[in-house]
């Protein structure tokens, strides 16, 4: 046993490993990604990135069927994709323990919505555990495997960004061997969910849930802590930690098992405190559940979206506020941006110039929606770009502007292929751009079917993207180097003008994958006419001097990609020396 500082994600991986899990599978998504990355590095395990969360859960179902324990990881919106197998796996149950880490993102630090996965547990009728720090992330994950096998059901472990990406101290333990399953025999009544069998498993699911409800009232996962009886607070996950910090004298009922809830324990807690409050973020899941048990919940003035903090809870209880320095609200915002040398940049520069209506997708390239490129009209969900472009075309297009879908390599493998088939099948037109930067970039560089890089060292295969698109039947397909700005533009102009459906694959590695960079460039001040064309690329290494309007390049950021060199008509951007000699461009 040793004490380590682990993030919640790392602790879930450790807990799965200690529980004897041999297979891990998932799809990267902030804030869940490091879980499977950590697991993949532990001894004696197999781990893989699946092409999407649905596939990941189906692979896991197969592992479970074969009798081994398995870990599945995804972010909250990934559970939408995996919902189809989840709901029916509640019916079939498991053989080897099946645990799904789902990481929610209250406050939407890196997500398109704030959906609360606790609702999925109740909806799919599968138990859910909610750790409140890394130590519990480890312990609860271990326990989740016991529950999965004991109650014959998949178990969700729900994290949030402040669990997944918070580090705290954890005592690790040795790995135990998972129980050896009985020899496999075909069991159609359990695993073949056609109506006759499903109807029986549906009734059996209610029996298992009833057992779980009883367990919820007995388990140490839920814990009533009686302090001052004036205030009683029910909370779970990181909100429990905020509550303990903000209102230390309050009695608390800490929910560790978010579904099914311990109704008896909740009623008893309610009867022993003067006023019962619920503190939760994202959704009012607990408050609604308590009211359905007939428990009176005293209203509390807390935001109904975004993250909670101890301070927000203190304010809600009208506790003294700290003395504050004055905030400076006048500062310019700092939105995230594409890196210097990013191969996506020239594509959006060209899209902006062609005035295309761009249906976008999920990845680093979604940043193409921001100024100064501002060349993306939509971002909804993984793969939506292609279906939405087809729909916009069906409706007669959007004036004279061409409709272009933009999707990344990993997102295309995740959910773009089905959309592309749909457009081909239904005789659609328009243009799809696949920005193949050879990596799943936004989540921190993971492998995917299009780059063929495996999560662990082993043989893997790269899907031939060009051949795939051709095989689907797209009449016009070409591969273009996105760093060649003239080629980017001419391909876009030609394909959007063509009457047939077309795909352009813009293929070049993510700037962060490029290890050897040429010397940076600098602006020759005398040659610069302050036309501002290079600045409009939105490269963080290029700025516009306040006094002269001329461009300057921060050589400590420049990676020498030459994108700006190609747009400068005055030959004003030239090579310079190495980064540490640079004394900085003065703005003021």
């Amino acid at each position: 046993m040793s004490r380590m500082l682990l993030s919640g994600n790392e602790a879930v991986a450790q807990g799965a490993w200690e529980a004897g899990v041999t297979v891990g599978v998932g799809y990267p998504g902030t804030p869940s990604t490091e879980t499977l990355e950590r697991f993949s590095k532990l001894e004696g395990v197999y781990a893989e990135w699946a092409s999407n969360e649905k596939v990941a859960l189906e692979v896991a179902a197969g592992v479970s069927l074969a009798g081994s324990r398995v870990l599945v990881t995804m972010k909250h919106v990934g559970l939408n994709v995996a919902a189809d197998p989840l709901f029916t796996l509640a019916y079939t149950g498991v053989r080897g323990g099946l645990v799904i880490l789902v990481a929610d993102d209250p406050g939407m630090h890196s997500s398109q919505n704030e959906q609360d996965s606790r609702n999925y547990a109740a909806f799919a009728r599968v138990p859910m555990l909610e750790p409140s720090d890394s130590a519990e992330a480890l312990a609860f994950t271990r326990e989740a495997y016991e529950l999965s096998e004991r109650f014959d059901i998949p178990v969700l472990v729900r994290s949030t960004v402040r669990i997944s990406h918070a580090k705290s101290l954890v005592d690790t333990a040795a790995r135990v061997a998972a129980p050896t399953p009985e020899p496999y025999v075909t069991d159609a009544a359990k695993w073949v969910m056609m109506p006759a069998m499903a109807k029986r498993r549906r009734i059996d699911l209610d029996r298992r849930l009833s057992d779980l409800e009883q367990f919820a009232d007995e388990t140490q996962l839920n814990r009533a802590e009686y302090r001052d009886a004036a205030i009683g607070i029910v909370s779970s996950g990181v909100c429990y930690q905020h509550v303990r910090e903000a209102v230390p004298e309050a009695s608390t009922l800490k929910i560790g098992m978010g579904f099914p809830l311990p109704s008896r324990m909740l009623r008893e807690f309610a009867s022993r405190v003067d006023a019962l409050y619920v503190v939760e973020e994202a959704d009012d899941y607990l408050a609604r559940s308590l009211r359905s048990f007939g428990i009176a919940v005293t209203p509390l003035s807390l935001a109904t979206s975004g993250e909670l903090t101890p301070g927000a809870i203190r304010s809600a209880f009208q506790l003294p506020e700290p003395e504050l320095r004055e905030a400076d609200d006048s500062l310019p915002p700092r939105p995230p941006l594409m890196c210097p040398g990013c191969p996506h940049r020239p594509v959006f520069d060209a899209l902006r110039k062609t005035h295309a209506v761009v249906t976008g997708d999920i990845g680093c390239y979604t940043l193409g929606a921001l100024q100064p490129l501002a060349a993306m009209d939509t971002c909804v969900d993984m793969g939506a770009s292609i279906g939405m472009a087809h729909g916009a075309e069906l409706a007669g297009g959007l004036g004279r502007r061409p409709v272009v879908a933009v999707i990344g390599d990993s997102t295309f493998a995740h959910s773009g292929i089905t959309g592309l088939m749909n457009t081909v099948y239904n005789g659609g037109a328009g243009t799809v751009l696949i920005l193949d930067n050879r990596i799943t970039a936004m989540t921190g560089h993971q492998g995917n079917p299009i780059n063929g890089i495996p999560l662990q060292k082993r043989d893997a295969h790269e899907v031939d993207l060009y051949a795939l698109v051709r095989a689907i039947g797209v009449p016009r397909v070409r591969i273009v180097n996105p760093h060649d700005l003239a080629a980017v533009r001419s391909a876009l102009d030609e394909e959007t003008a063509a009457p047939e459906f077309s795909v352009i694959i813009y293929k070049a590695p993510c700037a962060l994958l490029v290890k050897e960079t040429p010397d940076p460039f600098a602006v020759v001040e005398e040659a610069c006419t302050a036309c501002g064309v290079c600045v409009k690329l939105g490269c963080p290494a290029i700025g516009k001097a306040e006094m002269t309007g001329k461009a300057y390049i921060d050589v400590s950021l420049c990676v020498g990609c030459k994108q700006c060199v190609q747009v400068c008509r005055y030959n004003a951007i030239q090579h310079t020396g190495p980064a540490c000699d640079f004394k900085g461009a003065e703005l003021s």
Binding site: T30, H109, S110, K167, S168, R325, L331, R334, P336, G543
Partner: protein, 199 residues
């Protein structure tokens, strides 16, 4: 106000500046010194050049991994605009260390918004100590060690033994950069002492 036995440090900067590694060093030093510790950071989209902060809290027992305005004991700004953006998080008697570096946000670079002026004066008024972290990092032999320079500066106001810092740094950074990082840490300490920022 509770939490007097817990110290809260906020590290802020621009995604990619190494705030996460620095926070990791600090959290490990606190843990190695026998304290409870929690660290909270945000990955993903914000890391792409956006405004980022990492919270490290340590003490006898730490509950929440996050903090609120008016509750931060030490603010370490890896970049001056980001430090100014979070000044209201610092307690009135809190300590403020700021790298003199300014990285202009994209709306300023493109000329859509004016660059903020006078931040050094405003921050100095708030009691900030300025550290030439990037210059010192180059002097230490690695331009990427500015984050460790700032940890050196921060260490002068924290109750942790230098040996613990040195051990944690040596175990955490790539082996060929141990020497330059230890030098960066030492130069950061010296710079802070020159700036008379010990409390």
């Amino acid at each position: 106000m509770s939490g007097t036995s817990v110290t809260t440090v906020m590290l802020c900067g621009v995604g990619g500046q190494g705030t996460i590694l620095a926070a990791d060093l600090l959290a490990k030093v606190a843990a190695a010194s026998g304290l409870d510790v929690k660290l909270s950071e945000v990955h993903g989209m914000a890391q792409r050049g956006g405004s980022v902060d990492t919270i490290v809290r340590f003490g006898d027992h730490v509950y929440s991994p996050v903090t609120d305005p008016g509750m931060v004991d030490h603010l370490v700004g890896f970049e001056i605009i980001e430090a100014a953006r979070r000044i209201h998080y610092v307690r009135p008697d809190g300590r403020i260390l700021v790298s003199a570096t300014a990285i202009q946000p994209l709306p300023v670079l493109t000329g859509d918004l004016p660059a903020p002026h006078g931040l050094e004066l405003i921050l100095a008024d708030e009691g900030a100590i300025f550290i030439d972290a990037e210059e010192i990092a180059c002097e230490a032999g690695s331009p990427k060690s500015a984050n460790v320079v700032l940890m050196g500066a921060l260490s002068t106001g924290l109750p942790f033994a230098i040996e613990v810092w040195r051990d944690v740094i040596s175990n955490r950074v790539p082996s060929h950069t141990i020497e330059s990082n230890l030098r960066a840490f030492e130069l950061g300490r010296e710079a802070c002492q020159r700036g008379e920022c010990e409390q």
